[in-house]
């Protein structure tokens, strides 16, 4: 079982996701990066589930996909509203909560 390859893929995906979340200014791209992080976790879970020969990993992955779908629905709606109100989806400009 080549667990290491899956774990490496997962780590790379996670790193790309983190980069996207921290560095991109476009809200939609930030959401997509979050999806990358989630899917990295999914790969991790499925890989370990297969490695340990239990279905728990796959079940967890399915839950995460469902939650991610909901999360992306909410996130895209927020981005859409942001655009409507401000004609921009640049996250660096949205700092009304500054203390």
């Amino acid at each position: 079982m080549l667990l290491n390859q899956f774990l490496l893929l997962s780590a790379v995906l996670f790193a790309i996701g983190v980069y996207g979340v921290l560095a991109r200014r476009n809200g939609v791209l930030v959401l997509m990066s979050i999806e990358l992080i989630l899917n990295a976790v999914n790969i991790n879970l499925v890989a370990f589930g297969a490695f340990r020969a239990t279905v728990g990993g796959e079940v967890f992955a399915l839950f995460i996909i469902a939650v991610a779908a909901a999360e992306v629905g909410v996130g895209l709606a927020m981005v859409l509203l942001l655009y409507r109100n401000r004609r921009s989806i640049d996250l660096t400009q949205i700092d009304q909560l500054r203390g």
Binding site: V18, V21, L22, A23, V30, L91, T92, I94, D95, Q96, L97, R98, G99
Partner: protein, 762 residues
């Protein structure tokens, strides 16, 4: 009598007491509650619809009282049938076994009975009794119902008749009054309450009705309350009555528990029949009866205007005259007399009336009758003369009850209702014509202008003075006989020889004749002293006057004395036969033998009173008036100006024995002053002082607490935490950039650190 004693003896031996009441009887006698119900309904009707009716609700009141009168008449007929011919089942009540002493007490009428005439054939009577549960609490059942015997039936007749006549009279007298409808509503309520009172089956019901008539009296005295004296008079009447009502409340309560002690398995009893029967049988403790009788006597003194609680009654004349006639002459004020007559077993045993000794009731009655009669001499107001006369006559009735002359008292109540109502309505008719009640300044010589009023007033006067053959003579004579103190060719054999009471009665007879002569002279003789031209009143006033005057003539004939040779035996003592109960709930009283000599002497005494007063007014004052050329009301140099003693007496009477001064100045102020001072001292020294000390201490403690604990500790903590939060917030504010991605960076950094920690530790 023998039958009654046999019953008493048998019941004491056994454990069963015959009450002398029955649950049977004819429909009319069992449904007598309809009579009070009718005016009660008319009260409600007038209250809600009276103003919209064409005659302001008076027609409703007249109709209700009229039907009630017809019903009362039919009930009277039914009672006459029932009295001798009813053979139904008698009600018995189980009692606790009493010892021989009690049995002896029950039969103590025996000794005094020897010389007395047996009562109306001695055939027992059965009162018709009907009850229903009023409410129940703690297993004690309170009932409401009717007890119909001769006394109740007689009262029903008197109340409905006088009430009906007064209603008719009022439609003219208060015509156009600002509260016409209100007046008739209260007349109806009063009639209903009074009728409820006379048919009461138990003392609790009696108490309620007693208070109700008091309220009506209050409302009607204060009918023209816009004038201060009227509302003052109403308050005085109400408050004075409250004094006596406390006595009634206590007396009723004492009797309730006293009866409970003699009835097995029963907590107490309000039933009039039971209480009286127990008192008669000797099953109740004498102490309880004395206390109860004395308390009830206080109620009688206030309600029936007995000396020294009579002062409200003359003031009550502030009300409209029909009210004075109905409430303060014919019906409500006799409620006290009625109550004694109703609870006679209690009074008879409590005051030991059969014992021939001077008792509280006879003494109060005797004093009242003289005190009232004397006061009537110095009044200028015609209604006040009649008010004091009423007090005097009520004293007569109480005196009669006090010496055991039950029938005489109730008979006097009966006749007095007619002639005194007649006199009051007559005085109202006079005031209607001259617009005043002042005999001295606004009346005189009215006999020519008001022939009907004059004639009826004269009939009432003669009846009140007590000249044969008018009503007052028969009843007054019977009372004098009943004192049992005469002893010359009869006139003895009552419940002992009350010679003092006989003397008081005789004196009052003379005084009554004299003050009524004065009143008649000042009102109807001499020359008119008022303004304008007086005129005779209309038929709605004169017709009731004539009806009452006719009754004042003939009412006395219903109770011709026993052994009266000029009348057949079947006409003698009819009233006594049908009204006086011979039953378990009525004591075994003895009856004095009537005496021709007493009747002649009392008539001569009355003539003497009339002659003395007549000589003064009709001869001396008349002559002085002619000499002076004006109509005088007294001699310019009369006895009061010539003799210091007479002047002092006059001053004493003019000030009403200073009783009002005594009540207001001594009793009211005397209690008010020290009470107020004591209250003030307690308030200032005790309560205020305590409050002050507590307050001062609290202020000191509060200061310490405030300065040390509050300011330093609590505030310090609060301030410090506030300042700390503020400083921390100031520092942390910088982190809160509002930029999502810097938060995410911190998140990931923290996660990385945590992951590192996890790896190192695990």
């Amino acid at each position: 009598m023998d039958a009654l004693l046999a019953i008493a003896a048998a019941t004491v031996a056994g454990n069963d007491l015959a009450l002398g009441i029955t649950e049977g009887g004819s429909w009319l006698l069992r449904n007598v509650w309809l009579i009070p119900l009718l005016p009660a309904l008319s009260f409600v009707g007038i209250l809600f619809f009276g103003k919209k009716m064409p005659r302001g609700g008076s027609e409703l009141g007249i109709a209700a009282v009229g039907i009630a009168f017809v019903l009362a008449l039919l009930t009277g007929v039914a009672w006459v049938d029932h009295r001798d011919d009813f053979h139904g089942e008698e009600v018995h009540v189980a009692i606790v076994q009493v010892d021989d002493h009690g049995a002896a007490a029950a039969g103590h009428g025996d000794d005094a009975d020897d010389g007395g005439a047996a009562h109306g054939g001695g055939h027992p009577s059965l009162a018709v009794h009907r009850t229903t549960t009023w409410f129940q609490t703690n297993g004690v059942e309170f009932t409401v119902g009717t007890l119909v015997d001769g006394l109740a039936v007689m009262m029903l007749l008197v109340v409905t008749l006088v009430s009906l006549l007064v209603h008719v009279y009022s439609t003219d007298y208060v015509h156009g009054d600002r509260r016409y409808t209100h007046f008739f509503a209260f007349l109806s309520l009063f009639s209903a309450s009074m009728l409820l009172l006379v048919v009461s089956e138990n003392t609790l019901q009696l108490l309620c009705a007693w208070e109700l008539v008091g309220v009506c009296s209050f409302a009607l005295i204060g009918h023209w309350w816009e004038d201060k004296p009227n509302s003052d008079a109403a308050l005085k009447a109400f408050l004075t009555n409250r004094v006596g009502d406390m006595g009634l409340l206590v007396g009723v309560t004492v009797l309730f528990f006293a009866a409970g002690s003699a009835l097995p398995d029963r907590f107490g009893s309000f039933s009039i029949a039971e209480t009286n029967a127990l008192a008669n049988s000797g099953a109740l403790s004498h102490t309880a009866l004395v206390v109860a009788a004395a308390c009830l006597m206080a109620a009688v003194m206030s309600k029936s205007g007995q000396f020294f609680l009579h002062t409200w009654l003359p003031d009550a004349m502030a009300g409209p005259t029909p009210v004075s006639a109905l409430i303060h002459a014919a019906t409500m004020v006799v409620a006290g007399v009625f109550m004694i007559a109703r609870m006679y077993g209690v009074f008879f045993e409590g005051f030991q009336i059969g014992g021939s000794s001077i008792n509280l009731m006879a003494l109060i009655g005797g004093l009242t009758t003289i005190v009232g009669a004397l006061l009537a001499f110095v009044q200028r107001d015609i209604k006040k003369v009649l008010a004091y006369s009423t007090i005097s006559q009520l004293g007569y009735m109480v005196l009669a009850l006090g010496v055991g002359a039950w029938t005489a008292a109730v008979f006097h109540l009966f006749t007095h209702a007619f002639f005194k109502a007649c006199l009051f309505l007559g005085s109202g008719s006079v005031s209607h014509a001259v617009h005043s009640f002042d005999m001295k300044s606004d009346m005189g010589g009215l006999r020519k202008d008001m022939p009907h009023t004059y004639r009826t007033f004269m009939i009432g006067t003669v009846a009140l003075a007590g000249l044969p053959p008018l009503a007052g003579f028969w009843s007054k004579d019977e009372i004098l006989v009943g004192t049992g103190g005469w002893g010359l060719m009869g006139g003895t054999g009552g419940n002992g020889a009350y010679t003092l009471m006989l003397g008081m009665g005789m004196l009052t007879a003379a005084l009554t004749a004299a003050y009524m002569t004065r009143c008649v002279y000042l009102t109807f003789f001499g020359e008119f002293r008022g303004h304008g031209q007086p005129h005779e009143s209309g038929p709605r006033i004169t017709v009731p006057l004539w009806i009452l005057a006719s009754l004042a003539i003939v009412a006395g004939l219903v109770n011709l004395p026993k052994g009266f040779q000029l009348a057949p035996g079947s006409l003698q003592e009819r009233f006594g036969h049908f009204v006086e109960p011979v039953a378990g709930y009525f004591p075994a009283i003895s009856h004095a033998t009537p005496s021709w000599s007493l009747a002649i002497v009392s008539t001569m005494v009355v003539m003497g009173g009339i002659a003395a007063s007549g000589w003064y007014y009709f001869v001396k004052v008349e002559a002085a008036s002619k000499a002076a050329g004006t109509s005088l009301t007294e001699l310019p140099d009369g006895p009061t100006t010539r003799y210091p003693l007479a002047r002092m007496g006059h001053t004493l009477l003019a000030n009403k024995y200073y009783l009002d001064h005594f009540y207001n100045g001594v009793v009211a102020d005397g209690t008010k002053g020290p009470l107020a001072r004591m209250a003030n001292r307690i308030n200032q020294d005790v309560i205020d002082h305590t409050v002050d000390v507590v307050g001062e201490t609290a202020v000191k403690a509060g200061t310490v607490v405030y300065q040390k604990i509050d300011q330093l500790v609590v505030d310090g903590v609060v301030n410090a935490s506030g300042r700390g939060s503020s400083g921390a917030g100031e520092k942390l504010r910088k982190i809160n950039s509002g930029k999502v991605q810097s938060y995410a960076a911190i998140l990931f950094a923290a996660a990385t650190v945590l992951a590192g920690v996890l790896i190192v530790i695990v």
